[in-house]
């Protein structure tokens, strides 16, 4: 079986499976915004974006967007029936107040303990923290959606993050192009593998030791 790394679209499709009916969900900038396109139309998921929209939907067709209806990445979005707008203080009240059931954020690094680093590359000397620290503090469940390794093949899932943190012990689930890993009190639990990959191969690209789920299986999207 050929070893396949999941594309961003496939990762977004897998992440969409984590969103239960009725959940209030925040999608971070970058890859996570793709998740909006993969929520089944018959599943009622309330998408919230920190720039003040509740109830947005998939991206509009090319050229049909409204610059006054954008997501957290500044990309144009559509509105679902029942959407509404809130100002920034209310938007972060939703986040920090524990009203977001699931947040999906991109990450540079995630640690064994669920620490998240996603806002600054130390070598750049300057970074943009945006709303990520608030989501890390406030979301009931935080999912990191990230590439498993750096461009030169080094692990991004580490014993300890080496980049400045966005939040401590906040990540509950990691979805990468290679695996789905749960952060548990006992350690990182490998639950799913990208097609064609073995646990051993994923372990080699992961710094902390992975526990194997009894029902370890292939990612299905």
């Amino acid at each position: 079986m050929a070893k396949v790394r999941l594309t961003p679209e496939l990762m977004a499709m897998r992440a969409a499976q984590e969103l239960p009916e009725g959940a209030v969900v925040n999608l971070g900038i970058g890859m996570p915004t793709l998740v909006a396109n993969h929520i089944p139309p018959d599943r009622l998921v309330i998408l919230h974006s920190e720039n003040g929209v509740v109830g947005y939907g998939p991206f509009p067709p090319e050229g049909q967007g409204d610059p006054d209806v954008v997501n957290a990445g500044g990309e144009m979005a559509t509105l679902k029936p029942g959407a509404c707008f809130v100002h920034h203080a209310d938007s972060f009240a939703i986040i920090r107040g524990g009203h977001v059931d699931v947040a999906i954020l991109g990450a540079y690094q995630v640690s064994e303990q669920g620490d998240l680093a996603n806002w600054m590359i130390p070598a750049r000397g300057i970074g943009s923290i945006g709303g990520a620290a608030d989501l890390a503090a406030g979301a009931r469940k935080l999912i990191a959606l990230m590439e498993h390794t750096t461009r030169d093949g080094q692990p991004r899932i580490l014993r300890r993050c080496t980049y400045p943190l966005t939040g401590r012990r906040c990540v509950r689930l990691v979805i990468t192009d290679l695996a789905v890993i749960e952060v548990t009190p006992r350690g990182l639990l490998l639950k799913e593998l990208a097609p064609g990959w073995t646990a051993k191969e994923v372990q080699e690209l992961t710094e902390p030791e992975l526990l194997l789920a009894p029902d370890l299986r292939a990612i299905e999207v």
């Binding site: 239960p20 009916e21 009725g22 959940a23 209030v24 009622l44 309330i46 919230h48 509740v54 109830g55 509105l79 679902k80 029936p81 029942g82 959407a83 509404c84 707008f85 809130v86 203080a89 209310d90 972060f92 009240a93 939703i94 986040i95 920090r96 107040g97 524990g98 009203h99 059931d101 503090a137 406030g138």
Partner: protein, 249 residues
């Protein structure tokens, strides 16, 4: 994360209110914004030892506020009189007229209830803080008065402030004008008052509304309370105009 927020009856809407629950109840004090039918249902339901967070402890039924003789508006007094209230956190435990005391004031004089009197802005801000994930804040309100007793004081920019803590609840009973089935709410006039803030601060917010519409029927720019904050909605009887509409008994 239930997606069916519409309750068929008021009884169903308040069925799980438990003994000892902390409850926010909307309304400024008069008839507007008061969740009359939820209050009536809660009296029937009978949960006891309640802590009530509300602007007044039933001044509408003490004062009348324009209702005709012999007609009495529904407010939290009906719970006090029914022995369901253990404690109030409120700004107005008494009515403006000492000769027309609230049921709560009478119960307080008999030593049957506890009272925490809080300035209105502080009460509101404590609820908002709870809803917004803020643990505590420094306010100038009450410095140099009994309000500061037992609280930490601190100087910022040469001015004294008091530390006040977030105030959350198990349930909020509020009234709105319209809801869509996702729980988005719009209000009418000054009856908006505490409802949007209580909706944020309660674990379960229950809204009594005049109309329920489908998602998309409310203007997204004009929604005041997002459905994220509302767990249950229930429609008032449509025949209740006039003083009945104001929840008169």
């Amino acid at each position: 994360m239930s997606t069916n927020k519409v309750c068929a009856t008021f009884r169903e809407a308040v069925a799980d209110l438990f003994d000892g629950a902390v409850l926010m109840i909307g309304g400024f004090g008069g008839v507007g914004g008061m969740p009359h039918y939820l209050l009536l249902a809660l009296r029937e339901q009978g949960a006891r030892d309640l802590t009530i967070i509300s602007n007044t402890m039933g001044i509408a039924s003490a004062m009348g506020f324009g209702t005709p003789k012999g007609v009495r508006p529904v407010d939290v007094s009906i719970l006090v009189e029914n022995g369901q209230v253990r404690k109030a956190i409120t700004t107005f435990p008494t009515s403006p007229s000492p000769s027309r005391p609230t049921a709560f004031e009478l119960a307080y004089r008999r030593g049957q209830v506890e009272l925490e009197t809080v300035p209105q802005g502080t009460l509101t801000e404590r609820m908002r803080a709870a809803g917004a994930g803020i643990a505590a804040f420094y306010t100038p309100t009450g410095v140099g008065t009994v309000v500061e007793q037992g609280k930490e004081k601190r100087v910022f920019d040469g001015r004294e402030y008091i530390l006040e803590c977030a105030l959350k609840s198990d349930f909020a009973l509020i009234r709105a004008r319209q809801a869509d089935t996702l729980g988005n709410l719009v209000y009418r006039g000054t009856s908006r008052n505490f409802a949007p803030i209580m909706a944020m601060a309660a674990r379960v917010t229950i809204a009594e509304v005049d109309y329920i519409v489908q998602p998309g029927e409310l203007d997204p720019e004009a929604v005041v309370t997002t459905g994220i904050f509302v767990k249950r909605i229930v429609k008032r009887p449509s025949h209740t105009g006039g003083y009945q509409g104001m929840g008169a008994l």
